[in-house]
Amino acid sequence: MLPNFAYVRPSTLVDAVKELAKPGAAAHAGGTDLIGCLRDGVFDTKSVVSLTALKELHGVSATPDGGLRIGALTTLAEIARHPEIAKLYPALAQGAASAASPQLRNQGTLGGNICQRPRCWYFRGDFDCARKNGEFCYAENGENRYHAIFGGETCHIVHPSDTAPALVALEAVATVAGPNGKRKVPLGKFFVLPAVDHKRENVLAKGEILTEVVLPKAPEGARGGYRKMRVRGVWDFALAGLAYSVVVKGGKVERARLVLSGVAPIPWRVAEAEKVLTGKALDAATVKAAVEAAVAGAKPLAENAYKIDLVRAVVEEVLTAIPK
């Protein structure tokens, strides 16, 4: 059941930051993740600070240099059906469309999707795990079929977001407002590995708010998308997935961005595979080399070696389908 908490709805960003800097405050966008965490007793809160009255966080608009600015409160449903996003940034549109369920996409926001807490069943359940206040990661020797094959170490969560991998692949930059003003953080540097700090998933400091995400101008001729694999057809997190943006010119790969979902505590960019592809023709040998590079260094737990197969399969499937 929900614990007791105060609810505030500041109307300016400055007030919101002030409220959030107080001990035990939590930001509330769509609430689809936050309320679940509170109800399940994952963490406690003294006050819930609604962001919904903050004008700066709304809206989708073009940037002067041909990119797109998406306010943090834009819902997943809005992103999924936005014609510009679908055309220029299909990986993001498909990521948003494949998250959760229609109801949740109508309510859940992009900011919330990026900042949502992990779905590890030990973290969410009645287990005092390392990411809470406990000593160890239960997944290490426990029920770890859905856990990480990359970057686990002290905690084996996978990052739950379906939009974040696309944002990393698209080289999006987040704007963060906090007690010390605004700063810009590329999505590729937004997420935090357990080895750095296993109590948080991103770089946001106390009182900081993600206000918007800015997408740079989409590269000419880029092919992109998001392919998600899951147990059931909807209302299910990724077993593994691939967000990609690839530019092929004159028969050669000019630029490739491949970011995996569902396999690591952060959206997992496979830079080695990107390197293998760059400057090469997308022939069978190159694809095979990229596939191998994508899974190199995977450290499966007892029950999740299948994720290596899924990564292989999805990288091959996606690259093979790109017109040479």
């Binding site: 069943w121 030990y122 426990g142 029920e143 147990v231 059931r232 909807v234 077993l239 299948y306 499937e317």
Partner: protein, 764 residues
């Protein structure tokens, strides 16, 4: 006889219904597609479910549950909780009157309401009643319990190991293995030209009904009224009276609407007794509904099973031997984990051996789950049949057609009143396009199509007792009074249709009073697909009696012999001269009496014969050989459940059954943490029931009606459970057809498929 463990103790037999009702021929109402009579109430929100009950002064209760898989309560301190705002009462094992054996109806109760020996996560430790639910739940957190944690066992193998932690006095075996044998298995195997042998497992599934479990209890002096979300008000009635040691006459249980049960609401829950105890000590009505999370661990499951199957057959497909050895665990308290029945009865075979072993483990107790044991059996048996067909180079449909029995070999070789098994195979195959599908060429791409079939029977088809009362009022309207719950299956609608069929009264003129132990008559809980074949004939008998009385009155007034009269709509008409007629409302005798009452009872089942529903399911799947993703793209269900009562809800039952079968085949699995014994996926997104996107749009129901005139007075054999038994096995067979990989462990996820593809690659 199939173990009907939801019907404990002696079942009272009722007398034969007095009139011999001839079987229906052409019907005017029965068998048509009729929308639910309470559909508007259900979708508009005006239907009051037990969870909706609000009474003046009502308190809200919550239960403190054991957080460990196995523990003992050392000390419990409620002093802080008692002082919290709104808290009205706290119950623990020490509270006066709370030491109630559980289950009260069994000879040897294995536990009590607040047993201090906690055998699984979720066992009841204490309960609080407070002014609001939040206050009650806050108070739970303030109760200090000191537990002694004990080692636990989660699997059959662990439970049977030397020195394993013991759950109950007498060890972890619930009973000695139940063995059945006929003929000579060894001989049968030695006569076989082909033998297949394999071990299969099915994962534990949770019922997850829409409405959570719970009750509202209210005392008036020494009389107790309970509103319960239940499949059987009379089952709850009996248990409440026995547990509280009060006369049954003082207890009234009401269950007008309920939001699904699938077997998990066939018996009285501890929560009902706890609500009644709290209501007693506070002298206030008490509402106690479980949280969604509690229902995952504490209200039952389809037990996990492991089944080893051996089949032997001659070159021409004639079965010579069936061996089916099953183990399972019904969890921490006695509950069946039997699966073998269907394997010993579905196919003609002289040499059969089966065994069922059931073991205690520190996990939630199993409850009957839509066709208890049968889908598991089909998963193993029907995959083995598929493999046997491949071994023999025979078509899987042909192999099954070769082994159709006319008698129930398991039940004393008594003949079936009807068997549509062969017709289900033939007509289903035709509707599915089986021959064409299996003859196709495999595509080259990574996504492979496959086609599978599985057959089934269900081991029960209703019986006495059931009493239904029909009243015809002087204005021609009718009251239908029955004990059965409508658990979402459309009971009220088809029962009204039966009455309408006999009396010619339109459905709008029939009012229903049901599922109330204070005002309706005994019937067994709605389980085992019994409501149509048990309560339907009683309704017909009641209407028949009313009709007989009405015709007798009319005959007197029309001065015609009663044999010459028939009821046609709202009129009584002479069969010899149709100009001689009398409106029902004009029957003076009816006006004088104001009401004609008919009491109908369910007569016994036919002597020396067995009534059995059959079904054959066909599945088409697509399997991505790279990712192991599996999609079910098409299903056909050919059902012999006898005469359909309401073809609309009949089809709905089948669609629902297919969806549940997809859950078993593709998505559902309880996961217990091996380190703590706690369930890690006790919520609605980690425990994955199928969604709309997991269910094919293309689903077809073929109703095979063998015209059974012996089974009972309606010709119907029950559809709810036969609709889900074969589905998962048909899907698994389709997967094997698609990619040549046999999936022995449910569910078929990309996780499983990847592992199997890896193994296949290793073997080369």
């Amino acid at each position: 006889m199939v173990e009907l463990y939801w019907l404990q103790g002696a079942v009272p037999e009722t007398t034969k219904p007095s009139p011999e009702m001839p079987p229906w021929k052409e019907t005017a109402v029965v068998g048509k597609r009729v929308p639910r009579v309470d559909g508007y109430d259900r979708v508009s929100g005006s239907a009051v479910y037990p969870r909706d009950i609000l009474l003046p002064d009502m308190l809200h209760a919550a239960i403190l549950r054991c957080p460990h898989a196995h523990a003992k309560v050392k000390k419990i301190d409620v002093s802080a909780a008692e002082k919290m705002p709104g808290v009205r009462a706290i119950l623990t094992a020490q509270s006066p009157g709370a030491d109630i054996p559980w289950f009260p109806r069994r000879d040897k109760p294995s536990t009590s309401i607040f047993d201090q020996h906690l055998r699984c996560e979720g066992d009841e430790v204490a309960a609080v009643a407070a002014d609001t639910l939040l206050q009650a739940q806050d108070a739970l957190k303030a109760i200090k319990v000191q537990y002694e944690e004990l080692p636990f066992v989660l699997s059959v193998e662990e439970a049977l190991k030397e020195g394993a932690p013991v759950l109950h006095e007498g060890g972890n075996r619930v009973a000695p293995p139940a063995v059945y044998e006929r003929g000579d298995l060894k001989k049968g195997l030695s006569e076989a030209d082909a033998v297949v042998e394999r071990t299969y497992t099915t994962a534990c599934e949770i019922h997850v009904p829409m409405e959570v479990h719970g009750s509202v209890a209210k005392w008036d002096g020494n009389r107790l009224t309970v509103w319960d979300s239940t499949q059987g008000v009379f089952a709850v009635h009996e248990t409440v009276a026995e547990a509280l040691k009060i006369p049954m006459a003082n207890v009234r249980v009401i269950g007008h609407y309920m939001g699904g049960g699938f077997g998990s609401k066939l018996e009285c829950g501890k929560y009902t007794i706890i609500a009644a105890l709290l209501a007693k000590v506070t002298a206030r009505p008490v509402k106690l509904f479980l949280t969604r999370e509690e229902t995952f661990t504490m209200t039952g499951n389809r037990p996990p099973n492991k089944m080893s199957v051996r089949l032997g057959a001659k070159k021409d497909g004639t079965l010579t031997a069936i061996e089916f050895l099953s183990t399972g665990t019904g969890g921490a308290y006695p509950a069946s984990a039997t699966t073998s029945f269907m394997a010993t009865d579905l196919y003609l075979c002289p040499n059969v051996k089966s065994s069922d072993e059931n073991v205690f483990t520190n996990a939630g107790r199993a409850r009957p789950f839509r066709a208890p044991g049968f889908p598991q059996c089909a998963w193993a048996l029907e995959q083995a049949m598929d493999e046997l067909a491949a071994r023999l180079g025979m078509d899987p449909v042909e192999l099954r057609l070769k082994n159709i029995p006319k008698t129930s070999q398991r039940r004393g070789n008594q003949p079936y009143t009807s068997t549509g098994l062969a017709d289900c195979l033939r007509e289903g195959a035709k509707a599915f396009g089986w021959n064409e599908a299996r003859a196709r060429k495999k595509p080259d791409g990574p996504v492979k199509k496959g086609f599978g079939v599985a057959a089934s029977l269900w081991g029960y088809a209703g019986g006495p007792p059931s009493t239904v009362i029909v009243k015809l009022f002087s204005d021609g309207s009718v009251n239908l009074n029955m004990g059965a719950a409508d658990i979402g299956t459309g009971t009220k609608t088809f029962m009204s249709m039966i009455v309408s069929e006999e009396l010619g009264v339109p459905l709008e003129k029939i009012q229903i009073e049901h599922a109330d132990t204070g005002t309706t008559q005994y019937t067994a809980p709605s389980g085992g697909s019994k409501t149509v074949p048990s309560d339907g004939p009683a309704a017909r008998a009641a209407a028949w009696e009313v009709k007989k009385k009405l015709l007798a009155l009319a005959a007197e007034e029309m001065k015609l012999p009663v044999e010459e009269l028939m009821l046609s709509g709202a009129e009584i008409v002479s069969t010899k001269d149709s100009t001689k007629k009398l409106a029902v409302k004009a029957v003076k005798g009816l006006e004088r009496q104001q009401v004609l009452v008919g009491v109908g009872t369910r007569g016994p089942n036919p002597e020396g014969k067995i009534v059995t529903p059959f079904a054959v399911h066909f599945a088409e799947v697509e399997v991505d050989e790279r990712t192991g993703e599996v999609r079910v793209t098409r299903l056909v269900a050919a059902q012999d459940s006898g005469r359909p009562m309401n073809r609309l809800t009949y089809d709905c039952q089948v669609f629902g059954g297919l969806v549940m079968g997809i859950g078993l085949a593709r998505t559902e699995e309880r996961v217990l943490d091996r380190q703590t014994g706690k369930m890690v996926n006790a919520n609605w997104h980690d425990y994955k029931i199928p969604t709309a996107l997991d269910v094919p749009v293309d689903q077809k129901v073929v109703a095979v009606d063998p015209g059974d005139t012996e089974c009972n007075a309606t010709g119907a054999k029950g559809i709810g459970e036969p609709a889900t038994i074969a589905t998962a096995a048909a899907i698994a067979n389709a997967v094997a057809d698609a990619v040549g990989v046999r999936v022995v462990d449910s569910p078929i996820t990309p996780i499983r498929m990847s592992q199997l593809f890896r193994e296949r690659q290793k073997k080369g």
